[in-house]
């Protein structure tokens, strides 16, 4: 029965795309209902964690059986997967409902819900995977669904390109991931133990530490496998240096952004880190690298968020930055803090994106400098957005405060450098979120050169319909209260619980408030279309607003190195394979044909002569054969 968790949204995808595509309302209903079914099932599992109802055994069935290897498909039920599944299906359902309002006028409405269902199904597949091969399959499905959804408005070149970019960049990371899986497969050498080679998480967790201890597996091999698997995480969770796809992914419809950033896709990477943490924890160097990557991403993304003018992209950078935080927490060997932050972040990031969706829905622009004074017009959205902002900044008493505090505590505990980077990132986070809120919601409408209400079709923006604000309200509630559910304890915090010391709380709160205040003071000024920071920061501003030239670097690599190389290979292929082999075969057959076609003169009498001759030949052969076999 529990396989319905994954199957039900997957069936919704099939049914919508094959049958009900023409019926918009029905399609949306099927998609939402299917995800609610998953949600209900996971909720049942969740209650079973507290002893209400029976906890089902992990299920698995043989999927691919070859001599010497057996791959399984199964469902893994533990605290991590159930909590994560709850987030994916719960937040996912809310986003589905929101989409019904947001995409109402889009001609591709049903297609959208089909893809959303596929996305949710694939993500739930990742969450409940029991082994590496299964997780990789769903991992790729998530990649496919994200490609389809980011490029949903494929008529726009920029959207189509963004979809391709996300897919390609992920492919780079996934290549490392699959190599890592193969390596893990070989590392799980059974010779001594009498066990089978496996890619099963439980089996590996039991086997690898032992083999490392008795020297059957070298620490270098474990390190390599860990790095390769981490490559997949870097791609999927948009960590430096494969982060470039995430800002471009904003080309997709806003609910997709919410889904990608809150519940699916980028969460998958962090989830994988937590799922196979038994592997990463075996190598201190590996953890160090993970922590460094996380810290770099957190800081880099935060700085880019400061100079961004597009409301959705600011949120995208904030996601990147928060993902950096989570990865940092993993690197500091505190997976509970990382997952805790992932869960709370899921709530408030979905809230922020859906809020941004309401804003864009109303004002038809994404440029912050064209907005302003929305608070008076869209009170529900604005208040929800404020709550999301406070949660993202980590202000007491929102959920973000508790989870961020855990990570900061871990950083303070381990290394002052990481703590410094983290606290500076917190400052930047509150600065750019304060900037966003000040520009969009406070002040007077139309602070820019061309006010939004002259660009849009509506004379003046109004509050979004209830179907869109309803998810906002629920998510606001969760963003505030999720810190009081005792999630770390639920996750079974085995590592020492840092708790939040009074000092740390004071420091981080002061930093957050400072960031918010500074940004309010800077951006409060009316009627500005240029970012005042551009003058202050000078060349640094250019550096950051060009995204540290990372995209240009990749462009350079692709256009100046990869393309010529591909062209060279193409030429070689043309010369030797196509001209050499293929053409030889083709030409040879053509020549042979030209010879035989001379036979076919069109003259009936020639044909009949040939016919009689052939009959004679067959006859002679038959007679000779009969004589011989007699």
């Amino acid at each position: 029965m529990y396989s319905l968790i994954i199957l039900s949204p997957f069936l919704a995808f099939a049914v919508i795309s094959l049958i009900t595509r023409r019926f918009r309302g029905l399609s949306a209903l099927i998609a939402i209902a299917s995800l609610l079914v998953s949600f209900a099932l996971i909720l049942k599992l969740f209650l079973a964690l507290f002893g209400i109802g029976a906890m089902p055994e992990a299920v698995s069935a043989s999927w691919l059986s070859l001599p010497g290897m057996n791959f399984e498909m199964g469902l893994l039920f533990d605290r991590l997967s159930i909590l994560m599944g709850l987030l994916v299906s719960g937040v996912g359902s809310l986003i589905f409902i929101f989409s019904a309002g947001y995409m109402e006028e889009d001609p591709g409405f049903s297609r959208f819900f089909a893809f959303l269902s596929l996305f949710a199904a694939a993500m739930l597949g990742i969450v409940f995977s029991t082994n590496f091969v299964q997780i990789f399959i769903f991992w790729e499905l998530v990649g496919l669904a994200s490609y389809l959804l980011i490029g949903f408005w494929f008529q726009k070149d920029s959207a189509a390109d963004a979809g391709k970019k996300a897919f390609m960049v992920n492919r780079v990371g996934d290549f490392g991931f699959i190599l890592g899986i193969i390596l893990i497969w070989f590392l799980s050498d059974p010779s001594a133990e009498g066990m089978k080679r496996t890619v099963d998480f439980a089996g590996l967790a039991a086997m690898i530490p032992g083999s490392l201890a008795n020297g059957m597996v070298s620490s270098v091999a474990v390190f390599t496998a860990g790095i390769l698997i981490f490559c997949g995480v870097i791609g999927k969770s948009a960590q430096f240096p494969l982060h470039v796809w995430l800002p471009d992914a904003m080309e997709g419809p806003t609910p997709v952004s919410a889904l990608i950033h809150a519940a699916t896709m980028v969460a998958a990477g962090v989830y994988l880190l937590a799922r196979v943490f038994f592997l990463f924890t075996l190598s201190a160097e590996l953890l160090q690298i993970i922590a460094i990557i996380g810290a770099i991403t957190a800081l880099m993304a935060a700085t880019m968020g400061v100079v961004e003018k597009d409301i959705k992209r600011v949120l995208a950078y904030s996601t990147m930055s928060q993902l950096g935080f989570m990865v940092l927490a993993m690197g500091l060997s505190d997976p509970v803090a990382g997952i805790y932050h992932l869960l709370t972040h899921g709530f408030f990031k979905a809230l922020l994106f859906l809020g941004a969706g309401c804003v864009i829905h109303a004002v038809h622009t994404q440029n912050l400098f064209d907005m302003g004074g929305l608070f008076k017009r869209m009170p529900v959205t604005s208040i929800a957005f404020f709550i999301g902002t406070f949660a993202l900044c980590g202000l007491f008493p929102t959920a973000g405060f508790f989870s961020k505090e855990e990570i900061l505590a871990a950083a303070m505990h381990k290394s002052p450098v990481f703590f410094g980077v983290a606290i500076f990132t917190v400052f930047l986070t509150s600065f750019y979120m304060g900037r966003l809120v000040t520009l969009a919601f406070l002040g007077h409408p139309g602070r820019g050169q061309t006010p939004f209400y002259e660009k849009g079709s509506d004379p003046f923006p109004d509050e979004a319909p209830f179907v869109m604000t309803f998810p906002l309200i629920i998510l606001s509630f969760l963003s505030v209260t999720a810190g009081y559910f005792g999630i770390p304890a639920l996750l079974g915090a085995e590592t020492e619980h840092h708790g939040s010391s009074m000092n740390l709380t004071l420091i981080s709160s002061a930093v957050v408030l400072a960031g918010l205040t500074v940004s309010f003071l800077v951006y409060r000024v009316k009627r500005q279309s240029e970012d005042p920071l551009a003058h202050t920061l000078g060349p640094l501003y250019t550096l950051i607003s060009r995204r540290y030239f990372m995209d240009d670097l990749y462009d350079f690599y692709v256009q100046k190195i990869q393309q010529p190389f591909a062209a060279l290979c193409n030429k070689g292929n043309d010369l030797f394979v196509i001209k050499g082999l293929s053409n030889l075969t083709g030409e040879g057959l053509y020549r042979l044909g030209s010879l035989t076609r001379k036979m076919f003169t069109g003259n009936v009498q020639t044909y009949s002569l040939i016919l009689v001759f052939q009959i004679l030949v067959v006859f002679v052969i038959a007679v000779v054969f009969m004589q011989l076999t007699k």
């Binding site: 076609r597 076919f600 003169t601 069109g602 003259n603 009936v604 009498q605 009949s608 002569l609 009689v612």
Partner: protein, 101 residues
């Protein structure tokens, strides 16, 4: 005196060869058809010959069938020849070469 079967067969063979040669060499469609009839009759002769020498009627029945078929075939063949003449203004088989290449 009973003429041995081999004599009949030799006649039939000669007849068949003449027909075959006609089919290969004659350029007039009508004459080609005629040559085919010659070959038919050679075969009929063989049927009847063996019918005699084996003392049953199977061969004669086959020959009768063959003659009926030959009659039908001539009707169709001549009709085709007439249509060909109508469309090409000739009955020279060498001219009917549109199946070339």
């Amino acid at each position: 005196m009973m003429i041995p079967a081999s004599h009949y067969l030799i006649v039939a063979f000669v007849l068949f060869s003449i027909g075959l040669l006609g089919v290969f060499t004659r350029r007039n469609t009508i004459l080609v058809l005629l040559s085919i009839e010659l070959m038919f009759n050679a075969v009929n002769l063989i049927f009847v010959t063996f019918s005699r020498s084996w003392g049953n009627l199977d061969g004669q029945v086959a020959a009768l069938f063959s003659m009926a078929i030959a009659a039908a075939e001539v009707a169709v063949g001549l009709a085709i020849a007439i249509l060909l003449f109508r469309s090409r203004q000739t009955i020279d088989v060498a001219e009917f070469n549109s199946l070339k290449d």
